[in-house]
Subunit: 207 residues, 2 copies
DNA sequence: GCTGAATTCAAACGCTTGTTTGAATTTTGA
DNA sequence: TCAAAATTCAAACAAGCGTTTGAATTCAGC
């Protein structure tokens, strides 16, 4: 595979990421992609076997890009005190608030995937989400009473993640009137402190 | 307007709710709707002026249906003790977990709206969400220290709502393996207790 | 029953969609 | 340099899309 054809391929991918993020799969046409990528229409079938193949490649690229950004390592949490681990986990969950450019597009693509799951990669994306939840469950167990049921621990973990994801999910809205949140590193740091402190106290049943 | 034509109109609406919920606006064709509704294609333009008009009517119907289901009354919270009010609010936020049939479709339509906001009704839906957040902010202020900034109070309220909405949003997923949550009235009641207790303790800075 | 309005109908319309085709061009490796 | 493979190209293809059209049918009110 030569460099010129790699340019073609990457241009298509880049254009597709942008358009799929903005309009979703059904709302994005092949002609819009090739126009944006400045390539010939047949190239999509040649390089990706068609629209669907392109979409799956985009999902794969988005997923891998997200993992690189996220740099999540569940093992590191285990070496921290439970308070540190909690804070670190919350910060990790809120980090996407600081995402820029391509990473924002990846996050938007996952939002589309949430309402319109694609069959083949459904497990792929879910597999990606599972470490978070497993890690969160393990983490909250360090705070909860020893006899806490699996379901209760999991619901605690889910609600902890929900405290963070609501900000990430509605980020665009919260930066506009009437909210006007200024989302920068300082805000994310303060919010991480805030949420982990709420959670810490909330789970402090018997200290 | 006569009864036979009302049947036509309602059949279209009902079919459209189902299909827009399942496939979104772009993924749903006029032909699929009229086939499901067993009406003639021109009826959509006659009754709703076209696909877009039908979609807006569907949004309107969904919104009104949701409000009827929700039966939210911010004033009632004010007459309760703050603990009662908190529990009541959380339960209210989790009630959609018990939604059935048509209400589930309405909720799915709002999920689509979240990733693909339609221009005209964006304010309409947001206006609907605002009472929740304003009410939640007012509620958490009853727990927070008197000098808490508006932004901090609002972030507390958002995180409270996030604890609830994560369950509603991912309800389908949580009822399947590996989660297998059995979501019934009892579960919702227990979860309401659980989340409001977590929140209550989390906000208990100076009692 | 009659007339005008409302509603439904079948099909056409003009455009868009993703895939395919075969030729042209570029790249690769001997 | 040459031949084969890879890649790109322009255009065609078949199907689908939402809107429109004008006729047919039904409804409503006198």
């Amino acid at each position: 595979m030569s460099r010129p054809s790699e340019y073609t391929r990457n241009n298509i991918l880049k254009a597709a990421v942008a358009l799929f993020a903005e309009r979703g799969y059904d709302g994005t046409s092949i002609r819009a992609i090739v126009s944006k990528a400045r390539v010939n229409q047949a190239a999509i079938n040649y390089h990706f076997k068609g629209k669907e193949g392109l979409y799956f490649e985009v999902l794969k690229v988005a997923f891998e890009g997200y993992l690189r950004f996220d740099n999540f390592d569940p093992e590191r949490l285990k070496d921290m005190s439970r308070e540190e681990a909690l804070r670190s986990f919350v910060y990790q969950q809120l980090r996407p608030l600081l995402a820029r450019d391509q990473m924002i597009r990846y996050i938007r693509i996952f939002a589309w995937e949430n309402v319109r799951p694609s069959k083949v990669l459904t497990n792929f994306v879910k597999t990606g989400a599972m470490p978070f939840l497993a890690s969160a469950t393990e983490l909250v167990r360090r705070f909860l009473p020893p006899g806490t049921s699996d379901q209760d621990a999991m619901c605690t973990a889910i609600s902890l993640m929900g405290q963070c994801s609501v900000f990430v999910r509605n980020r665009e809205q919260f930066t506009k009137p009437p909210f006007n949140l200024k989302i920068d590193e300082a805000f994310v740091a303060r919010l991480s402190d805030f949420i982990s402190e709420l959670a810490l106290k909330g789970m402090a049943r018997q200290l």
